[in-house]
């Protein structure tokens, strides 16, 4: 799968749906953690692994801690150039 914003969004939403933590009004600026999707450290680790498996790299393993889908998408945009 590519690292396009659409494909990354599909991966993140698919993961949140699977773990039943997709907020009703989820969007690019919704927090992935407290006050938003509510991911804890283990769930964040699983998201990190899924992003790497699906898109070949992930921002968490690169030392970043994106707070939103938009920041995950920005990581791929910056690293696909």
């Amino acid at each position: 799968m590519s690292t396009s914003a659409t494909d990354v969004e599909q991966t993140v939403i698919g993961f949140l749906t699977t773990i039943e933590k997709l907020p009703e009004a989820f969007g690019p600026s919704t927090s992935l953690y407290a006050g938003g999707a509510g991911l804890d450290s283990l769930e964040t680790a699983e998201l990190s692994a899924i992003l790497e498996d699906t898109h070949g790299a992930d921002p968490y393993s690169a030392g970043e801690m994106p707070q939103t889908l938009a920041e995950i998408q920005a990581y791929y945009a910056a690293n696909s150039a």
């Binding site: 699977t18 773990i19 039943e20 933590k21 804890d40 450290s41 283990l42 769930e43 964040t44 680790a45 699983e46 990190s48 692994a49 899924i50 968490y60 393993s61 801690m65």
Partner: protein, 284 residues
């Protein structure tokens, strides 16, 4: 990928309570081993005794008002009933689990102990009046409560001047970096499957928090080595009660429990997790 459930300690507890009684023993908590060779019931009784000593419980003298103890996360009510029977005190056990309340009430009724009562309440928002207990007691329940500060704050709030908050629980001895959580995520997911959504704090966290709430910390003891043999006994129970446990939680549930014993034992040995007891007194 392991499917993760939403945090719901009550439903988790209900689902596995019966199986846990077989796997963990009647007291549903770790044991403190003096030699490592004791049977699990002896060791779990020793942990209860450690809490009793920390709480400085004494038999109620004739004609005096019995002490009132709040058992936060009372499990199946066994320790609460034992305390009422041994010390002649009043114990109010609370748990978010309706199955836990029903099991505990049945136990108290069978043993003829009206001084042991049980209610479905949340330890992080218990709803009791200020200073209405002599002891607030949390035996291995804190790690299943997401808001530990609220637990401690509420426990401190309901304790009278001169009374004590006592707590024993699993501990985290070091910060676990995100990269390690990621690398060991299958182990952590297995622990969550078996034991629910547990979160561990350090011994210092509990002691410092109680001090910040205005209590005088009297006990903050590391029981990691003393509890290590618990995992051997749990594995023995899993082998002994295999068929019954599979009927209750399925083969995958039993496998997750057995794997969890190995994972936790390794964490105990490498200094990641452990066990401890804390007691603090509200100044008179």
């Amino acid at each position: 990928m392991t499917r993760l459930e939403d945090y719901d300690p009550a439903s988790h507890y209900d689902r596995v309570t019966e199986a846990w009684l077989l796997l963990l023993g009647d007291e549903l908590h770790y044991g403190v081993f003096a030699t490592g060779d004791e049977p699990l019931p002896v060791a779990t009784a020793a942990l209860t005794r450690t809490m009793i000593d920390a709480a400085r419980l004494q038999v109620t003298p004739a004609g005096e008002r019995p002490l009132r103890l709040l058992d936060i996360g009372c499990g199946s009510g066994a320790p609460a009933c034992d305390l009422v029977e041994e010390f002649g005190i009043e114990v109010v056990g609370i748990t978010t689990s309706p199955v836990g309340v029903a099991t505990a009430r049945d136990r108290a009724a069978r043993r003829g102990l009206p001084g042991a009562t049980f209610e479905q309440r949340d330890g992080t928002d218990n709803g009791f009046e200020d200073a209405s207990f002599d002891v607030a007691w949390a035996m291995e329940s804190a790690h299943l409560m997401r808001d530990r500060h609220a637990l401690l704050s509420e426990a401190a709030r309901v304790v009278r001047p001169g009374g004590r908050v006592v707590l024993c629980d699993l501990l985290r001895w070091r910060e676990i970096p995100f990269a390690e959580v990621r690398a060991r995520r299958e182990d952590f997911a297995t622990l969550r499957t078996a034991f629910g959504d547990a979160h561990f704090e350090s011994l210092a966290y509990y002691a410092d928090s109680l001090a910040e709430l205005g209590l005088e910390v009297e006990v903050a003891d590391d029981l990691t080595q003393a509890t290590l043999a618990t995992f051997d006994r749990w594995r023995d129970n899993a082998a002994r009660h295999r068929d019954a446990v599979v009927d209750l939680i399925g083969a995958s549930g039993l496998a997750a429990f057995e794997r969890s014993c190995d994972i936790l034992e390794a964490f105990w040995r490498d200094g990641t997790f452990g066990y401890g007891v804390v007691a603090a007194r509200r100044p008179a």
